[in-house]
């Protein structure tokens, strides 16, 4: 196989996750798709650069993704709680 195929795999996964991100209906799902996008980026890193530097970069990216997931979930829960007390609906309400 060629690097192109590995790249294509990663891009395809990214696109699918992006599609899901843009068409899902709630913050939680958006965060899930976000993680999948980061995961696809990781695959790209590992696949297109087999030397260890890219693997190290991927390892760093793991940690960042995990941190982001943590904060994001806390944010989502707080927002859901807050909006729920003020309004019934409200997936997103940054209108302004």
């Amino acid at each position: 196989m060629s690097s192109y195929s590995l790249g294509a795999i990663s891009f395809a996964l990214f696109a699918l996750a992006a599609a899901g991100f843009l068409t899902c209906g709630s913050i939680l799902r958006m965060l899930m798709f976000l993680e999948l996008m980061l995961n696809a980026a990781n695959i790209a890193l590992v696949g297109l650069g087999p030397e260890t530097l890219s693997q190290a970069y991927a390892a760093l990216l793991f940690a960042v993704a995990a941190a982001e997931a943590g904060v994001g979930l806390a944010l989502a829960l707080a927002a859901a709680r807050h909006l729920r007390t003020q309004r019934t609906e409200g997936m997103t309400d940054l209108k302004g």
């Binding site: 843009l22 997936m91 997103t92 209108k95």
Partner: protein, 623 residues
């Protein structure tokens, strides 16, 4: 050309302009003083014109031209027009008539309009008119003449609609102005065509001397299937017809009687309406190159003279009789021009200004005496109550009727001689018949107003003040003796050749005059009048309404134009511009704004979508 600097000409023009400005800006404070200033301005103009005439007479006859160029009006590329004025025999005659008769009428107005609240405004307009008319007759090129032409049209509009609070009078003013404008379109077309053709051949100078010298360059060109001189002359005739109330642009003059009577005397008898005749005389060299156009002028003049005389014979309002009479006499002048006898037409212009102004002023005196009554059938028996007015108006009456020895006789005779030489038999017959009709309707007017007994319980009438009677007396003298004085000197002065007239013509016209006077006296007795009226009832109704020319124009032109204007206002203005272009642009902007605003609806997923779309686009375009 006798030099290019004759300073007196501008001094003929300036006093009326100053008088107009003075009366306009100080009209609240000065009443009698403003009127006196206006009359003085007219007198000063007349004086300077007389001085200029004496200077002119000192020059040898073939070289009588005094010019003055004030400033360069505009120049664009190779074309240049100066504000230049000239004083030659034709201008001299016109300027003297205009300022002289103008001065007399200014005096008359000072007494006639004494109680009117718009006194200062009146004299301002009157002086303004005088200025523009003098500019017209003293102009050295058609452009300055056209400026004066438009100016007198403006002054006429202002003065006809002087009592503008009355919508009918205001409408009369509007009608006069618009009809004039229709004529002006032809005038401008003719001037532009002439200028274009001359400039194309390298002779762009437009002053009258150069035009006379270069006119031969126009021959041989064809425009729209007609020879160029013919087309130009026809267009110029259209303009002259508008200003001088010839068929078919005569409809404004009867309505113009809504203005004050001195205005009718000055503008619509003696001076402004003669501007058309002046135009024809000034550009006679051009008309000499277009015999077909001259034929048209002759026919139009003859027809107008005859038809207007018929209409004048059945009018009830004294001023309308005089209005149709003016149209008829102007027809005579156009007949003369059409027959090539331009100096005869100017001679008749002069005598007509005397006796028609006199008749109008007399009518004004009558109206003033009777407290505003203008219906002939309600007047009567005034010969005893207003003897001086009666005597003066008799002078005018006999002059207009062509009584042998008076001014009207000589001028009309000269015209008929010219028509006999170059016109057709039909035109001559029309001229003679019209002479008879002229005598008839004028006698009818005098008879109904003065001689026949009035209605029972006639109102007391008092004679007019001296300030009104004195100008009338001067005009009466000129009407009586002017013919004898001028009959040989004026045509010679204007450059007409000597010619032998037919011997039978003066006798025939004297016979026509006698018939007319007799018929006038006969048919104003009640029984013959009723007999005539009943037998010719339809013709009577038609003629009294001016042959329904107004109705014809209303149906042909005014109503379709109104409908067109309404349609344009509805579709183009309201729907297209307001609705579509202006409103549509607004709605488009609003809609676009709303569309863009929807991208800011606060929904994160939409934000994310747009972000992703932007990123994709960026990637696509950059990479």
């Amino acid at each position: 050309m006798e030099g290019n600097y004759y300073p007196l000409i501008k001094w003929i023009l300036l006093p009326p302009l100053a008088g107009a400005a003075l009366n306009l800006f100080a009209r609240r404070r000065l009443r009698a003083a403003g009127a006196a200033a206006a009359c003085l301005a007219a007198l000063v103009s007349f004086g300077f014109s007389a001085l200029a005439l004496s200077d002119l007479l000192n020059l040898p006859p073939e070289n009588r031209l005094l010019r003055d160029t004030l400033f360069n009006w505009f120049s664009a590329g190779g074309f240049s027009a100066d504000a230049a004025f000239r004083f030659d025999p034709l201008s001299a005659a016109m300027a003297l008539i205009v300022s002289g008769v103008g001065f007399l009428i200014h005096l008359y107005s000072a007494a006639y309009m004494k109680d009117d609240p718009g006194y200062g405004r009146y004299f301002s307009y009157l002086n303004l008119f005088l200025f523009f008319m003098l500019a017209l007759v003293l102009a050295d090129n058609p452009l300055v003449m056209f400026a004066g032409w438009e100016g007198v049209g403006l002054a006429s509009y202002l003065l006809i609609g002087f009592w503008y609070a009355d919508p009918e009078k205001a409408a009369a003013g509007k009608k006069a102005f618009i009809t004039n404008r229709v004529g002006d379109a032809g005038l401008l077309g003719g001037l532009m065509l002439m200028s274009a053709l001359l400039a194309a051949q390298g002779a762009p100078a437009l002053d009258f001397s150069s035009l006379a010298a270069n006119a031969h360059l126009l021959a041989g060109h064809t425009v729209l299937g007609m020879a160029a001189p013919t087309l130009i002359c026809l267009l110029l005739f259209w303009g002259a017809a508008g200003k001088s109330a010839q068929f078919p642009l005569h409809v404004w003059l009867p309505d113009a009687m809504a203005g004050p009577t001195p205005v009718s005397a000055l503008i619509h008898a003696a001076t402004m309406v003669t501007a058309g005749v002046y135009l024809l005389a000034r550009l006679s060299f051009l008309f000499a190159m277009a015999p077909r156009a001259l034929e048209v002028v002759l026919l139009a003049g003859a027809f107008t003279a005859f038809a207007a005389a018929i209409a004048a014979s059945v009018q009830k309002d004294i001023k309308k009789v005089l209005a149709y009479s003016t149209i008829s006499q102007l027809g005579y002048m156009f007949m003369a021009a059409g027959a090539g006898a331009f100096s005869a037409s100017v001679f008749h212009l002069a005598t007509h200004s005397f006796f028609k102004a006199l008749l109008f002023l007399g009518a004004g005196s009558l109206i003033h005496a009777l407290g505003g009554e203008q219906d002939l059938f309600k007047m009567g028996g005034l010969a005893k109550k207003l003897p001086v007015t009666f005597a003066l108006m008799c002078a005018g009456w006999l002059a207009v009727a062509g009584f042998p020895g008076l001014s009207g006789f000589y001028s009309k005779d000269l015209i008929l001689e010219g028509v006999l030489e170059h016109g057709g038999a039909a035109a001559l017959a029309a001229g003679l018949l019209t002479a008879a009709l002229t005598a008839f309707y004028t006698t009818r007017l005098i008879s109904l107003a003065f001689l026949r007994p009035g209605p029972a319980g006639g109102k007391p009438a008092h004679e007019a003040p001296v300030l009104m009677l004195a100008p009338m007396a001067v005009l009466a003298l000129l009407s009586l003796g002017g013919g004898l004085l001028l009959k040989d000197s004026l045509p010679a002065f204007l450059g007409a050749g000597a010619h032998a007239g037919a011997a039978w013509l003066p006798w025939t016209s004297a016979l026509a005059c006698a018939c007319g006077i007799g018929a006038g006296i006969l048919f104003t007795a009640p029984k013959p009048a009723n007999f005539l009226k009943n037998t010719l009832a339809p013709l009577h109704a038609l003629a009294a309404a001016g042959f329904r020319a107004d109705g014809l124009y209303a149906a042909l032109l005014i109503r379709p134009l109104r409908r067109l204007a309404g349609a344009v206002a509805h579709y183009a203005d309201a729907w297209l511009i307001d609705g579509l272009l202006v409103g549509g642009t607004g709605r488009l902007a609003c809609g676009a704004g709303r569309l863009l605003a929807s991208a800011q609806n606060g929904r994160l997923d939409i934000y994310a979508l747009i972000f992703a779309a932007g990123a994709a686009l960026l990637v696509y375009l950059v990479i």
